[in-house]
Symmetry: C2
């Protein structure tokens, strides 16, 4: 049996109770780069294997990960595949589920809190809000050509746009959104390391997001969630009314 | 202090560890209709008040909820506002946060797993998948006029569309999507009571979703999540390869 588990945005307290149960009983855990060490510490029995992709380090190929999951499950081990956020939101969980199913290995999906929802939430940015946003659009900024095609087809208002893995191409993404007709003054935010002690928030507008220099409050290396839409303004209203909450 | 907490899709095991901690210490809990009784049972000390909106029952007005949160917090009670899913995804959490901030009442947001992500995930439907979907669109089907405006502006392919509160207007929503250019053969699913013992899945295509009669496998009253997109086909491939996992 393999459990495809979402570890949430990072803070171990944002794990689900089911994820904790599975970790406590796990024999082997294959984990990704964005999984916090404190989460792994909750699995005392397990052999923990880092298959994450960090800049510069050797990557473990997707096919290798799938082969390892199948091999260990066939040996009767309790196998956990642990991913940041949710396994089915940019987590390649679907590919792993298919590989397991085709090998006849039973699996379960344990949903986790995607950073697409947790990062704005923890910064006081509602994804939907009466009169401001009635939908949520989540995409990845990793593949710029693919992102460009998607942005062409997105509604320019009435929804909150969340771009995961948005750091590297931030400037290009913001420019694509402006070209698409998103307002230059659309409130925008960049959230880094959501839920962790080093969480950071930059807040401005889309035209500023399109500028190369965002100021010193951002870490040039940390994973970043971009949020564009009127609901970013709600977080500002919250911070103005109650400074300690923001 | 008020905690705005997402209870996840229903199963208490899909609560976060932080939500559990807050429930265990809570003095008073204001909860919504979709919060499971087993979740409330985790809060032994708390007075639990149902402010949820059920068909036929008397509703508690939003302004009343906000007034109660502020009153109890000012009395020094540990107050929990408990919502199904995530408080900031169609949960009106932003409105409550603003009311609290304006009253000078400190609050925190504890993200939960939105049904928009958990329902497909628990049915084996990835939200994103290489070559099939590179984005996730989440909207509500409750207000048909608003949904119609949004659907006009949505990309007809390359993304997975999730419609929460989609039961009542299912037929109209499907017809709007067909008119927008979504393919009649686009895989579609209806998921009810995700994560609970009575979870149900209907799977077909968009043209079938637009038909009034969906067969007997669906509960005409249960809350329903609609999913439209090629990734619904992944769940079918999983079920075909590994029947017991589906």
């Amino acid at each position: 049996m393999v459990s495809l588990i979402g570890a949430g945005p990072g803070d171990p307290e944002l794990l689900t109770l089911r994820a904790l149960k599975r970790l406590q009983r796990a024999d082997v855990i294959l984990f990704d780069a964005l999984v916090d060490a404190r989460v792994l510490a909750l699995a005392p029995r397990a052999r923990c294997i880092d298959v994450g992709k960090r800049a510069g380090a050797r990557q473990v190929a997707q096919a290798t990960i799938e082969r390892l999951l199948i091999r260990w499950a066939r040996r009767g081990l309790r196998v956990v595949r642990l991913k940041g956020g949710d396994p089915f939101v940019f987590g390649r969980g679907g590919e792993e589920a298919l590989a397991l199913a085709r090998a006849g290995v039973p699996f379960e999906v344990v949903p986790g809190i995607s950073s697409a929802i947790a990062a704005p939430g923890l910064c006081g940015i509602p994804l939907t809000h009466r009169g401001l946003s009635s939908a949520l659009l989540v995409m990845s900024g990793h593949d710029l050509a693919q992102a460009a095609r998607l942005i062409e087809a997105l509604p320019a208002e009435g929804a909150t746009l969340v771009i995961l893995m948005g750091r590297e191409h931030r400037v290009e993404l913001a420019r694509l959104l402006l070209r698409r007709g998103f307002p230059a003054r659309a409130p925008a935010a960049v959230i880094q390391s959501a839920s962790l002690p080093q969480q950071r928030l930059w807040s401005g507008d889309l035209s500023q997001l399109a500028e190369a220099a965002l100021g010193r409050e951002l870490d040039p290396h940390a994973p970043s969630v971009l949020v564009i839409g009127a609901t970013v303004g709600v977080a500002r209203a919250l911070a103005a009314a109650l400074p300690q909450a923001a």
